[in-house]
Symmetry: C2
Subunit: 320 residues, 2 copies
Amino acid sequence: MLIFTEEEIREYVKINKESIDEIEAAFTDLKTKDVQMPPIMRVDIPEYNGEVDIKSAFIPGYEMFALKVSSGFFNNYQLGLPSTGGLMFLINALNGQPEALLYDNGYLTDVRTAAAGAVAAKYMANEQIETVGVIGAGAQARYQLIALKEVREYKHVLVAGKSKRRLQEFKEEMESTLKVSVTILETPQEVAEQSDLVITATPSSEPILQNSWVKNGLHITAMGADAQHKNEIDPNILKRANYYVADVMSQCEILGELRSALEKGVVTKDHPVMELGDITSRAEKIRTSKDDITIVDLTGTGAQDTRIALYAYKKLTEEK
Amino acid sequence: MLIFTEEEIREYVKINKESIDEIEAAFTDLKTKDVQMPPIMRVDIPEYNGEVDIKSAFIPGYEMFALKVSSGFFNNYQLGLPSTGGLMFLINALNGQPEALLYDNGYLTDVRTAAAGAVAAKYMANEQIETVGVIGAGAQARYQLIALKEVREYKHVLVAGKSKRRLQEFKEEMESTLKVSVTILETPQEVAEQSDLVITATPSSEPILQNSWVKNGLHITAMGADAQHKNEIDPNILKRANYYVADVMSQCEILGELRSALEKGVVTKDHPVMELGDITSRAEKIRTSKDDITIVDLTGTGAQDTRIALYAYKKLTEEK
């Protein structure tokens, strides 16, 4: 079994057109192949405010598939540790033997999650995006912006978040990395009202984006909600949006923004839902007007994990 | 992250009283603690007749818990590979970091499965066991006999199976290891009719132990069925038995012998079922007569995996 470290993986796998294309293909796979993707497995550790999730998917035609272990331990900041972590295995699909351990501490998850946001924006957002709003100033807020730059030439970023120190770090990093201006605002409302595209990247369990702040034409990347208790988006936005797109319907209705909207009775089970793979498999943009409001709900799929792990393996074994 | 090889693990972890006691404690944990044990996750690889199962359980009071990946690839014999494999992770329950990789190729699963058979026999079988019958001559048939020797002083083994060569190897190995006589018989019927305790250790999907062969007083260790399509035991035996004991009811009714009996309508949902933890937590023998027929249905639990992984870690870090 080969073992790759986070440092090696970070060197060979970047957020760029190539990795985003891999993730686009993962969503298409879900529509065009008999992908074996079981429901997410979750182990709760209530004593320590932690959880471990396991995701996997076998995509026919590939000789390996990934099994991903990811953790969220929300008291870790008290220990001076990052709250999320993880690793991936590549398992030989012909004989079951483990082939590689990608000990990435969650980096590949960050890449494939950001890439999904970019894939959605590519097909769903308006062509002209001047200003991108971000709610949250953590790692995924950064990665989403980096990925988005591959599909939209935005110039300004508006950001709101809880910690002044983290917002300042975010501003400095993103201005330097992306050559855009970053403005720190006081409230999510100000961010939303002045943006053409909004990314929500928080672990919130109460809506942090309200319907009254959403102007016509907005595209929303809702990437925070991936658990039964999480909710970032006012459910009325789902009802109002011209297009609500789930990464995978069966996950969004139990873990994503769709769950909250269903639970609160704002939308019903027959609410029109597209999946991201419906769009990528046709490679067609979906909006019919510049004023359409669109939203993508990202819970994270095993198919993305398998595709990014296969991509990392290829880069690490062929180019290294 | 520490990495231990199969060779090291085999050197420090044996089937003996100590490891059997650990597994007994795992079943007691399931009754006395708020164990977090999610349903088994399964990835199917239909193209290659393979499956990968993931099991896990967090047991309160321990600072680590196991996540086990086990594979069954049933064409592997054509490749000259063993059909089963696997490994375990120990994850820190306080912060989610992986602490150790036990790259055991399924050895610890063999140990904890055999130990469960011994724990059940200890409380369920008659005290005097002269002759043990085994149907199947694979690895688990061997391990079950070794574990059973720790709780019952049997003298003779009768065995039936499909391959003459494998039966001969089994006989030679077991006679040398256990100092018992091993007799190869032509049919499972002959084995069952002459035994005081029968172990079924096959991947059969049709009953290989019939009700008419079962004499009064028999204890049956049904360890083969751990999947929706597997079935070793005539469902009428479950109905007739004085005690049917599941390792975990919620697993046996979808994966074990109980599943087949329910599906065929031989028993109903209100059939009296005990769990192994009901017995171990009281540490009381259950039979009221030498003539009672008893059966334990073993599908394999995440709690066993966590207990055996913690035990292996302790042995490997403290004694090595």
